[in-house]
């Protein structure tokens, strides 16, 4: 790799050729503020706050758009730079409404943070602020089905414009009018209609674009716990962060409050789609299964686990007594690899080496409307672990691009050749595809026993004889194999609701009650056995994957906007942007730190 060496603030910095000064400063841990620069999109140079002094250049330069050259000498803490930068910040706040108490960005807002750190102490603006509530123009408007736009707060960094053009591929956002009247707008105020619209909230450095889902729901300092996990709603497997809202201990309860993308250059870069971002309410919804249930007569009645397991074992043994292969398993590809591994041992133990033929893996596919130029593609397969099932030997057909074939199972059930169906579905409602024939088959008596191990109460669970509450993807440590074949870890973010248990645990205790050896006490034991049984594959390191726990932020600024969070992690590790203190001025005499405001209207 070709490198260049330059001097920033007296420090020798060596970076790859082609990097800009701002990137070099970030890599070296030198703090330079920025708004329009975002590592995931192109360079614009419109916000002007990253200006630095470069020796032998006549004027201050924007560091985000200046490419490093050998022997450059750059100053970021020069008195001239500090004063000019403070001037830019004063301009940025001339029209910003400062309604931080009601703005959802307040507390994780780069405009707040950088203005406190680098901006002047006060504004000289005496005139009323610009508001867009004029003829036919509104300041605070709907911005499509998922977003809200507040034009008053916008600082015109054009990150959203560039994101839509470059990553989304459909340039729906533009800047209309010019100069002082410039505003962010969509054609005929139609708003943003995109599967990637939620990312606009992440990249917006102020509170101008916010999602409706998170609107007024929480303040950043109320979300102290962030769990690094992954999304399992499609086969892409984006790295995500699950944010947990805490309450005072007398108002008990922790709540899953939002999902945001986490930087992963090999899978999702800085982005995630709206499906993964907004489809988490079902996890803590009213339809969640919290207790095991047994059918008594026509009604399902809650029961304790120890009252459910003996009759369940008896019914399964009875169904499989004449022909073990008349017990079938219908498994959603939302099941994690641990669960599929335990299930494989279960069916092999019961049915012999041909046991996997009793298992039907189901998933759904849906067409995700995206522009052809989109760089971030959402795959059609709505399940995270089709590849994991294939790797374990289940029959799922070649590639993830096919649809599951439930017809053989359906024909066998409706012809009365199947005595029992055991359904395992830890995914959201509908993740098995069309199984509306299964409930009527049980009711008509064609099927003798229906066991549903799931997470939500739906039509299928309502028709079951036994309902066993399992765990969703944010409630267990589990591994999934995405469409690239990467084995990824999803960490437990919240606790299990009610008496629900992790799915591998339910399967293992069922296997034990049927007389099989299941020497597992935790999901880690399962991963260890899985790794030992598949040497030389991607699963050989399955037991070394790292699962994270909610890490309370050392200060609330660390739990910041994730697209900026790496900035706090790498750039501002020990910089609380507190008024009166600035790393910019560390070690400087107080008189050099003081930035006097020029009086307005006084000419010297």
């Amino acid at each position: 790799m070709e490198t260049v060496t330059l001097t920033i603030d007296g420090r020798q910095v060596t970076v790859a050729k082609g990097r800009t000064l701002l990137q070099a400063a970030i890599e070296a841990g030198i703090s330079v503020p920025y708004y329009c620069y975002h590592p995931g999109i192109s360079i614009d140079g419109s916000c002007r706050v990253c200006i630095v002094k470069i020796e032998k250049m006549p004027k201050l330069q924007t560091s985000c758009s200046t490419v490093c050259a050998d022997g450059m000498v750059v100053h970021t803490r020069d008195a001239e730079v500090i004063a000019a930068r403070a001037g830019v910040f004063e301009f940025l706040l001339v029209n910003h409404p400062l309604d931080c108490p009601v703005c959802d960005k307040g507390g994780e807002c780069p405009l707040q943070d950088f203005s406190y750190t680098f901006g002047p102490a006060e504004s000289r603006m005496d005139f009323p602020r610009r508001v867009f509530d004029g003829e036919g123009v509104k300041g605070d408007v709907d911005f499509g089905p998922t977003l809200m736009l507040n034009r008053q707060r916008c600082i015109l960094c054009t990150r959203c414009v560039r994101f839509m053009k470059e990553v989304e591929g459909d340039a729906q956002i533009g800047i209309v009018d010019r100069g002082y009247g410039s505003e962010i707008a969509t054609f005929e105020e139609r708003g943003v209609h995109s599967l990637l619209s939620g990312n606009l909230m992440d990249i917006c450095p102020v509170g101008a674009i916010l999602t409706r889902d998170y609107r007024f729901k929480s303040r950043p300092w109320d979300n102290p716990g962030v769990v690094d996990t992954m999304c399992t709603l499609c086969s892409k497997g984006c790295s995500t962060s699950a944010w947990l809202k805490a309450r005072p201990e007398w108002a008990k309860g922790t709540q899953l409050i939002r999902m945001t993308p986490r930087f992963n250059p090999e899978v999702n870069n800085y982005w995630m789609c709206d499906i993964g971002r907004f489809t988490y309410h079902w996890v803590e919804g009213d339809t969640r299964l919290r207790r095991p249930m047994v059918r008594r007569g026509s009604a399902l009645e809650p029961a304790a686990w120890h009252d459910v397991e003996p009759p369940l074992r008896g019914r399964l043994q009875e169904a499989g007594s004449t022909d073990p292969s008349s017990v079938r398993f219908l498994v959603s590809a939302h099941a994690s690899t641990e669960e599929l591994f335990v299930l494989k041992q279960l069916v092999r133990g019961l049915l012999g080496s041909d046991g996997l033929s009793a298992v039907t893996i189901a998933w759904t596919r849906s067409n995700k409307p995206q522009s052809a130029a989109a760089k971030f593609k959402v795959p059609a397969t709505d399940a995270p672990n089709v590849n994991g099932a294939r790797d374990l030997g289940y029959r799922v057909g070649p590639g993830t691009d096919g649809l599951p074939d439930l017809l053989p199972l359906r024909d066998a059930v409706e012809a009365g050749r199947v005595k029992a169906v055991y359904v395992l579905d830890p995914g959201p409602d509908g993740s098995l595809g069309d199984v509306s024939w299964l409930g009527p088959a049980r009711r008509s008596g064609a099927l003798g026993l229906l066991v549903v191990q799931g997470v939500v109460m739906n039509e299928l669970a309502a028709a079951a004889d036994f309902v066993l509450p399992g765990a969703t993807y944010v409630e267990k440590d589990a591994i999934y194999t995405n469409d690239q074949g990467r084995v990824q870890a999803a960490s437990r973010a919240i606790g299990l609701p009610g008496e629900a248990r992790e799915d591998w645990d339910i399967l293992a205790s069922l296997a034990r009650s049927l007389g099989l050896a299941m020497p597992y006490e935790s999901s880690h034991d399962v991963r260890r056995a899985l790794a030992a049984s598949m040497p030389g594959t991607a699963y050989a390191q399955a037991d070394t994957l790292v699962f994270t726990r909610p890490v309370p932020a050392r200060n609330w600024l660390q739990a910041s906007n994730p697209s900026e969070r790496w900035k706090w992690d790498f750039l501002y590790q020990d910089l609380p942007p507190v008024k009166g203190y600035s790393v910019q001025t560390e070690g400087m005499p107080p008189e050099a730190v003081f930035i006097p405001l020029k009086p307005v209207g006084v000419r010297s």
Partner: protein, 170 residues
């Protein structure tokens, strides 16, 4: 010996005028009582009468309303984060114009009576002057469920003659 000692004691009191010793202090005390009967009273009949509190007294909080009778609290949560006793819990929600002038209001606003230390930090933190430390100090309740004050307990009554804009339309 004990008998002799006892006789000696009584004998000595009788000889110095025992009756006189009892009556004089009694009269002195009654004189003080009568003297105070004609002086102004310093005590009040507490439950019926109350002493005016000091102007900066910090009692139970009140949530203010604006001149139209709408709530002032914008549910920013700064009182909650400023509270050293973690006594304030609130849930913001989208306003439809009937609760307050802005877009955001507090759907739930709770202060825990027994956690609050009446420091007044919530009043200091409030950016819209919505919460003030009130003058109410009679905070005993009959049930522990009543320890949590919600909006119903904290909001001041709307000013007389106020017509909230949205309510006036309907």
């Amino acid at each position: 010996m004990p008998v002799l000692l006892g006789v000696g004691c009584f004998g000595s009191w009788e000889s110095t005028g025992y009756h006189e010793l009892m009556i004089r202090p009694l009269l002195t005390g009654l004189a003080t009582t009568f003297r105070y009967m004609f002086k102004p009273k310093v005590t009040v009949n507490y439950p019926e009468q109350k002493v005016p509190v000091f102007p900066k007294y910090r009692g139970k909080q009140v949530l203010m309303r604006d001149e139209n009778g709408l709530e002032k609290c914008v549910a920013c949560g700064l009182c909650s984060v400023a509270c050293p006793a973690d006594a304030i819990y609130l849930e913001p929600a989208e306003n439809d114009g009937t609760v307050l002038a802005g877009p955001r209001y507090a759907k739930v606003y709770q202060i825990h009576n027994t956690r609050c230390i009446f420091c007044g930090f919530c009043e200091e933190a409030c950016p819209v002057s919505a919460i003030f430390m009130g003058k109410d100090y009679e905070l005993a309740v009959y049930s522990k469920d009543e320890f949590i004050w919600d909006k119903h307990d904290l909001l001041v009554p709307p000013p007389a003659g106020a017509t909230p804009p949205a309510l006036a339309v309907s």
